[in-house]
């Protein structure tokens, strides 16, 4: 089984980008001067998380870079640096670099390593203390070729193994292989010393077959194998950090044959015994050819809680074993060969079987416990352990994920029973200490193209409410099903109830699903502090950015598509709107300009306002420019609104100078096109010297709209309810023809062009052609009104928009299609597009025509 890391990696990228946002916004909040500890801490944490996560995925470049940044931040929070503009700027740069590296890793593209390394060098220059462990993190140099495709780390977990390495054990059990627990347990058992050895030499076979090939078991160390003597004296309080000697011993046993001798010297009498203290000392013999560091690593966590002495054993020969086998006064070694011992062996089998996982009380808790002895064999049990589970059961329950080993019957011949427990231990060993030896092979698909589908993170409450609603839907469905059985007229009210309930469920479910696509606008707004910071530095202006309504939610697609237009508008406001500090002072304004981004709901729309308190639009200059570009006649007298309209014309710019940022006349038209493509509108309010406000109105969602069905001939079209101003019966005397080109309808003080839909769509069958017999639907799009002539209005309903573009092709004047209740397809009309189409057909340039009309009105 390999863990699928792709998903986790995706998560890491998302999270890192959030962390980078946090870093960025906190960096921007930092004020020059003394350290704001809370802020720096939070920046540090974010950098730290990125580093930690990156390490797991072996993104060494990220780790190395983040480490330097983190070190600087660490120094900052320790108060070693003051916050200065250069530091902030550099750290912001670091955020950018990290973002760049991460995105190149995510997209599997190359990134500019020279920039990375340049920034890294600059970061290092700030550090007070030279970096330790430089080599460990690896200096990043430009020449280093770093593959953009990370080694995704699929992790091979051990396949459950049932292979038990054949233990080679002498047929004569000379020693009692005691369970690992024994050294810990015996001392607190007053009787144990008489019946049991106080110290136990424990043979633990390693998987190496060479172990225990000698004719004696346990005490006879295998010849010609290097080993280690470990004197381990835990301090009294070692247990208080949750470390348990038995775990350490098990680790050691995983390295090779291990002998464990406990020194019970310091165990006080029962009455003086403190349950939570560790009174035992151990002498361990590890017969394994391993480096000292491996052993030290095992004791790493208790380093300062014990006295540890690790000395290498000379290469052992048979003679050398004598001293070990010698029984010192206080340490008895269990070495018997009597038949009685075969039972000990049997019983020890249980403990061995049990040992790795059976819950025994912590060594010094004072529990009087004994060597487990099976009840059922009935012989030689010193003190039967209450409820000693049968070995086979124990095995099954313990061997999670592995095939149960063959049940071990407790009563066996001594030979067999000696072997089996060892067989069990060795199999456990090969499972336990180094279970993950499998090679970490790169995933086969790691080189595939990056995931294309974008994901969305949804609050759990939204999902819960969805589940809840689906539950209700199921209830309604079953209720309707009940009604449907043996239906007769008496059940009609029930059916009606059910259907109205179904309608409610559907609506709520729909709203709920739509909510999933909704994201707070802060996702988009949050990039602006940085942008404004950078721009204002660049322009030498002082700007305060105010964000409000950041929790206003809008559709993810809308949000994404709005991103660029918003950036453009913010840039414009900074570049052209807000004046230089001196100029502002001169006009009696505060030096610091205010840029306010505000989002809120209004009706079925979201309004985003971008306002500044800058110079405002210079209408006279717009007029001059419009005349210069022949968009306006000198004698025309356009209204303010009409003048602002020029701003959205391609190639129109009033800027004296083309700057880096804006002023090329490219942009506002694109901004408006983007907004329009989302079904939104943009309008300008501006007062000279007081500032400008852009109002962007966007639909809540793109997927569903409140639609008005209209009929033209046999066709049904859909208009967005929001675009409809009013519908009226045409009074023929109010219709005027303009030079044979267009018809206009005089509505109160306005002249509204009439667009006969049947004409536009070439519908000839069954349609009303007489204006007074149909209806005129006055709609508004892009600030222009138009009257659509239709046969009749049908119902209003919520329309699920199906894209025409993706299924057919883009059509001007049509924004999409939907499937009606009867299964037929209806087209959704795009008012702004229709207006353009209308002007195009009538060969009237859009602006001029509105003008003429407006003026003549």
């Amino acid at each position: 089984m390999a863990i699928d890391m792709t998903e986790v990696r995706q998560l890491f990228f998302e999270e890192s980008s959030e962390n980078l946002d946090v870093m960025e916004s906190n960096l921007l909040d930092l004020e020059i001067g003394p350290i704001d500890k809370e802020l720096v801490n939070s920046i540090f944490r974010a950098a730290h998380s990125i580093k930690g996560g990156a390490g797991i995925f072996k993104f060494e470049q990220v780790v190395s870079f983040a480490h330097v940044a983190e070190t600087l931040l660490d120094e900052m929070r320790k108060g070693e640096h003051l916050v200065t503009q250069p530091i902030i700027d550099l750290l912001l740069r670091a955020v950018d670099i990290l973002r760049m590296i991460l995105s190149s890793l995510k997209e599997h593209t190359e990134c500019d390593w020279s920039e990375v390394s340049a920034c890294q060098t600059r970061l290092k220059a700030f550090l007070k203390t030279p970096l330790e462990g430089e080599s460990a993190y690896g200096e990043l140099t430009v020449s280093e070729k770093i593959s953009p495709i990370p080694q995704s780390a699929p992790v091979k977990l051990p396949e459950p193994t049932s292979v038990i390495p054949a233990p080679i054990i002498s047929a004569t059990p000379l020693a009692t292989p005691l369970p690992l627990e024994v050294p810990a347990v015996t001392p607190v058992t007053p009787t144990a010393t008489s019946t049991m050895p106080a110290s136990a030499s424990l043979p633990v076979t390693s998987t190496e077959p060479t172990v225990a090939t000698a004719s004696t078991v346990a005490l006879v160390a295998p010849t010609n194998i290097e080993g280690w003597q470990i004197i381990f004296k835990p301090h009294l309080e070692m247990l208080k950090t949750g470390n348990d000697p038995i775990n350490l011993f098990r680790e050691l046993a995983g390295l090779g044959a291990l002998e464990v001798k406990a020194d019970t010297h310091q165990v006080p009498t029962f009455t003086d015994l403190t349950p939570h203290s560790c009174y035992l000392n151990w002498e361990l013999m590890l017969h394994a050819n391993v480096a000292k560091s491996v052993i030290e690593e095992i004791f790493e966590w208790v380093e300062n809680e014990c006295d540890l002495q690790i000395t290498s054993l000379p290469v052992l020969s048979a003679e050398d074993e004598a001293p070990i086998a010698t029984v010192p006064d206080e340490i008895t070694t269990a070495t018997t060969t009597s038949s009685h011992d075969s039972h000990d062996a049997v019983s020890s089998k249980h403990s061995l079987v049990n040992s790795p996982r059976v819950e025994l009380p912590p060594p010094a808790e004072g529990t009087v416990s004994n060597l487990p002895s099976p009840d059922e064999d009935g012989i030689g049990a010193n003190q039967p352990l209450p409820n000693a589970p049968p070995a086979s059961n124990q095995l099954r329950s313990d061997q999670v994920g592995t095939k149960p080993l063959s049940p071990v019957s407790p009563v066996e011949t001594p030979l067999a029973s000696t072997i089996e427990p060892l067989a069990v231990t060795s199999s456990l060993q090969c499972l336990d200490p180094h279970p993950l030896e499998g090679p970490i092979s790169p995933r086969g698909n790691s080189n595939q193209a990056p995931e294309t589908g974008s994901s969305i993170r949804v609050g759990i409450d939204k999902v819960d409410s969805l589940i809840n609603l689906v539950g209700e839907l199921v209830i309604t469905q079953s209720m309707l099903e009940q009604v449907g059985e043996n239906f007769d007229h008496s059940k009609l009210p029930l059916l009606r109830d059910g259907l109205s309930q179904l309608e409610r469920n559907t609506r709520e479910l729909q709203e709920s699903v739509m909510r999933i696509r909704m994201l707070p606008i802060s996702y988009s707004f949050n990039r602006f502090p940085r942008l404004v910071h950078d721009l204002s530095v660049q322009l030498g202006k002082k700007v305060e950015l105010k964000l409000s309504g950041v929790h206003t939610e809008l559709d993810k697609t809308v949000l994404e598509k709005m991103s660029d237009p918003l950036v453009h508008l913010v840039r414009n406001a900074l570049d052209h709107g807000i004046e230089m500090p001196a100029q502002r002072r001169a006009t009696g304004k505060s030096e610091v300009g205010l840029l306010h981004l505000h989002a809120f709901h209004q009706g079925g729309s979201i309004i985003i306002q971008i306002s500044d308190d800058g110079a405002g639009f210079d209408l006279a200059r717009i007029r001059d420019q419009a005349i210069k570009q022949r968009l306006l006649n000198r004698e025309d007298n356009p209204t303010e609104e009409q003048l602002y309209e020029f701003v959205f014309q391609p190639g129109f710019s009033t800027a004296n100078q083309v700057s880096d940022l804006s002023g090329r006349g490219v942009g506002m038209d694109v901004v408006r096109r983007n907004i329009r493509s989302l079904g939104g509108t943009i309008e300008i309010q501006s007062k000279p010297g007081r500032g400008t406000t852009f109002n962007i109105r966007l639909p809540l969602t793109l997927a569903i709209l409140d639609g008005q069905l209209v009929r033209v001939g046999t066709e049904i079209y859909i208009l967005s309810l929001l675009s409809i101003i009013e519908s009226l019966r045409v009074k023929p005397k109010l219709v005027n023809s303009l030079a044979g080109k267009a018809e206009v309808y005089k509505l109160r003080d306005e002249y509204i062009p009439i667009l006969r839909l049947y004409e536009l769509f070439d519908i000839v069958v069954h349609c009303t052609t007489q204006l007074d017999q149909g209806l005129l639907v006055i709609v508004e799009g892009d600030g222009q009104k138009i009257g659509l002539f239709v046969d009749e209005l049908l119902s209003q309903q919520q329309i699920v928009i199906k894209s025409l573009e993706s299924n057919f092709k883009q059509m001007q004047g049509i924004s999409g299609a939907t499937i009606l209740g009867d299964g037929s397809v209806a087209l959704i009309l795009d008012v702004a597009g229709l207006i353009q189409l209308f002007h195009h057909k009538k060969k009237i340039p859009t602006l001029r025509s509105t003008f003429t009309l407006g003026v003549s009105a």
């Binding site: 986790v8 944490r45 998380s49 996560g53 950090t241 949750g242 680790e251």
Partner: protein
């Protein structure tokens, strides 16, 4: 069943821990900060707690101290996830009562080895 509580403010780190541990048949519960971890630990007894050091609300070291003051967790293994390799930090961890530490970055093998080292 062995119950492990993991506490980390990073989702990916939690996922990583959870995946690895769950694959090894441990029962894993997640907490996204120290405070939550402490609350969870009080509600149910866990055999092992693995916690990040840098966390909002309640950091890893404080969590260890809090846990050690509870009778239930006086002797339970608690491992810290840390990137700090300097001995000073390690001593701080030990002083707080941590059983041991897992150095980040770690791979699943290392994690499981460390876990097995403290679980019976």
């Amino acid at each position: 069943m062995t119950y492990i509580l993991i506490s980390d403010d990073s989702v990916s780190m939690r996922q990583m821990l959870k995946f690895t541990l769950a694959e090894a048949n441990y029962q894993v519960t997640e907490a996204n900060n120290g405070l939550t971890a402490l609350e969870l630990a009080k509600q149910q007894s866990y055999d092992l707690i693995i916690t990040d050091v840098n966390m909002p609300q309640l950091d890893g070291l404080s969590l260890v101290r809090e846990l050690r003051s509870l009778p239930e967790y006086q002797f339970k293994p608690i491992l810290l996830l840390t990137t700090e390799s300097d001995p000073e930090k390690k001593q701080e961890a030990k002083a707080a009562g941590a059983t041991g530490w897992i150095l980040k970055p770690f791979d699943p093998d290392k994690l499981l080895a460390a876990v097995r080292k403290v679980l019976r």
